[in-house]
Symmetry: C2
Amino acid sequence: MSEQNPLDLPEGDPFGPHNLPYGVFSPAGSATGSATGSAPGAAPGSAASDGRRVGVRIGSYVLDAGAAAAALGSPYVSLLAQPTLGPLLAAGRRTWSDVRRALTAWVTVPAHRDAVRPLLHPLSDVTLHLPFEVADYVDFYASEHHASNLGRMFRPDAPTPLTPNWKHLPIGYHGRSGTVVVSGTDVVRPTGQRKTPADTAPVFGPSTKLDIEAEVGFVVGAPSTLGTPVPLTDFREHVFGLCLLNDWSARDLQAWEYVPLGPFLGKSFATSVSAWITPLEALDAARVAPPARTEPLLPYLDDSAESVADEPGGYDLRITVSLNGHVISEPPFSTVYWTAAQQLTHMTVNGASLRTGDLYGSGTVSGPSPEQFGSLIELTWNGRDPLELPDGKRTFLEDGDVVTMTAWAPGPGGTRVGLGEVTGRIAATRG
Amino acid sequence: MSEQNPLDLPEGDPFGPHNLPYGVFSPAGSATGSATGSAPGAAPGSAASDGRRVGVRIGSYVLDAGAAAAALGSPYVSLLAQPTLGPLLAAGRRTWSDVRRALTAWVTVPAHRDAVRPLLHPLSDVTLHLPFEVADYVDFYASEHHASNLGRMFRPDAPTPLTPNWKHLPIGYHGRSGTVVVSGTDVVRPTGQRKTPADTAPVFGPSTKLDIEAEVGFVVGAPSTLGTPVPLTDFREHVFGLCLLNDWSARDLQAWEYVPLGPFLGKSFATSVSAWITPLEALDAARVAPPARTEPLLPYLDDSAESVADEPGGYDLRITVSLNGHVISEPPFSTVYWTAAQQLTHMTVNGASLRTGDLYGSGTVSGPSPEQFGSLIELTWNGRDPLELPDGKRTFLEDGDVVTMTAWAPGPGGTRVGLGEVTGRIAATRG
């Protein structure tokens, strides 16, 4: 053909054939809902009715993966011609590799490239959906710099900023899976109770300390058996890939409610994830050793053993956080103390089972330097030091603010692997 | 017919036509799995392959509700001829009433009774399953007596046993929905970290303080919209029914992990629910006013307003807890401070949405007297005062122990409404 093939990407494109993240999209004209059509509680069948299907991002296009599989007679059509990533996630590591190998061929081998070319949709024309049904959502607290910053702010008189358990186990808690939303979904400012020491009684109203948390989310594919822990070495048998995650937080609601049972309404109103899930296989060149451990670990969490250490557990993901288009932070994921494998193992050591679609967040990623802090409460030191932005000062988020996170990781041969962005706009409280 | 009809129940049967709880069962011979076949992470299609279907309990029989609907030409066949309660739950309050009215007729009107008689299965012949897919699971902490007991035990020097927020909001947290199991499922003793003040480092091993929590679980049917709170008056538009719930707890794991983000592995290994969901409509005669409020409530939680108070928010459920067949406690649900309606409203006041299948527990139900405490940690005062049972002393649970909870509520005209039992046996940690 004479036209340029969209698969002829500019050199260095972070969404080249070395990346190939997965998502779910509706082609132009087929979506009956809005970008927020993937709202929890949608009636059964609504997914199918808006034409949603598995897509793979290549450059600034989306390949209709199920249609490509059908066109090329691939045996993976049953996994890919679906309105959700669920069946692919459930298929397990060997199949994930095989499907990825097939997809790579479809976008690189000339004959296949011609065959799939009509099945490419410009990204700007499609609607992206939450790519899988979130089973359980767990949020960790795995960045030492983040946990130390919060300890200094809230327990200034404690002997150390970290609680005594922090270096012995990855602290985590369950969040609300039903309010995980896809990038682009508006976030309605939550309402609730707050009470500062100065208040004689709780005050009710829209949150005045609405914050972000820059995180990486890990997506479980293959399930595990109830009653049987998953060892560190099985991490990649169960975890399919990762995404960017913004764990929106209402600091004022959280402060009043969280003793003794942990965060609840301060977190449960929304958690945004990127529309693209990057398979772990695309990130092999980004694997790095985690920070040196400063306390001995119990054997089930010890990743210094030879069998584990040859697959380093950290990932060198460079995150950028922007507020209304201005970069406010660049948190380095490689500085996070607890690895995703340790988190998975800890989460199951009591026998808790994994399900396809389980999602767990790393917790706020904060580096050692102030320009690497992953939340506004750290960046402004709980509002004491406002950010000076071109469009005004900010302590916490105002209605209309747009927060966007992007990230990239080193890829093979000096390339970059782009992660899908996660973005959200703050909408005013309803009513 | 000359034989006695199983629908001719003995007078006073707590599972008479005034009750009619819903469940999901497999008839004898059709189940391919065991009683634990409803394990999380089961492959898609496994539900259908073991013949599971919606059942309604009547006396000691189960009516195949979908088959009855088909036999009688009911329009509700599409809701009832299903392997899960999901479609019925999603149908909403008006339909719940209509279906219940139809079912009542099928088991009471002579012509219908004859028609459905062949569709009755003895309870002892069927396998009962988790009756719906649990979406989000939230556990509250709504019993003042329970929270006060724990405060006295763990914060003996605090000015009051309750935390300052306790009387202002129903404290809750998200639990693991993927490990909610049906009554009868063995509970494998969890393993994990614990550290007492006497230990210099954390110790790893099977929990030595495995406990129960006697609770009532509420099942959400109709979903709500993200960003829009659900008011107190809409409780019965969303909540379909209730069940008994045992929130198994490993007190030693919980004590070491829970500061600052709340319980995690100390709870997430298993939560058992009764196989039968009692519709709220069956419990109208059991409604009672909740305990007097001793602190003023913010308007969104205030259930003293006339529009709310004519539907009292408490339920007079009398729970019995047995350990290896010996009654160890009789917690009265009517003493719980926060109502299920207040819990639902609080859970959504920040805009968090509800999904069909959301489950929330009341928290441990403890009455004011020691023989009404709903957990072993209270009954034995954290192991100080062992229970003297005919088969030996108990502080916390031992392998092989069987815990069973039953309950009943006042029904119309002096009847009793029985709740389905929730039972579980402790299995040894897997080697």
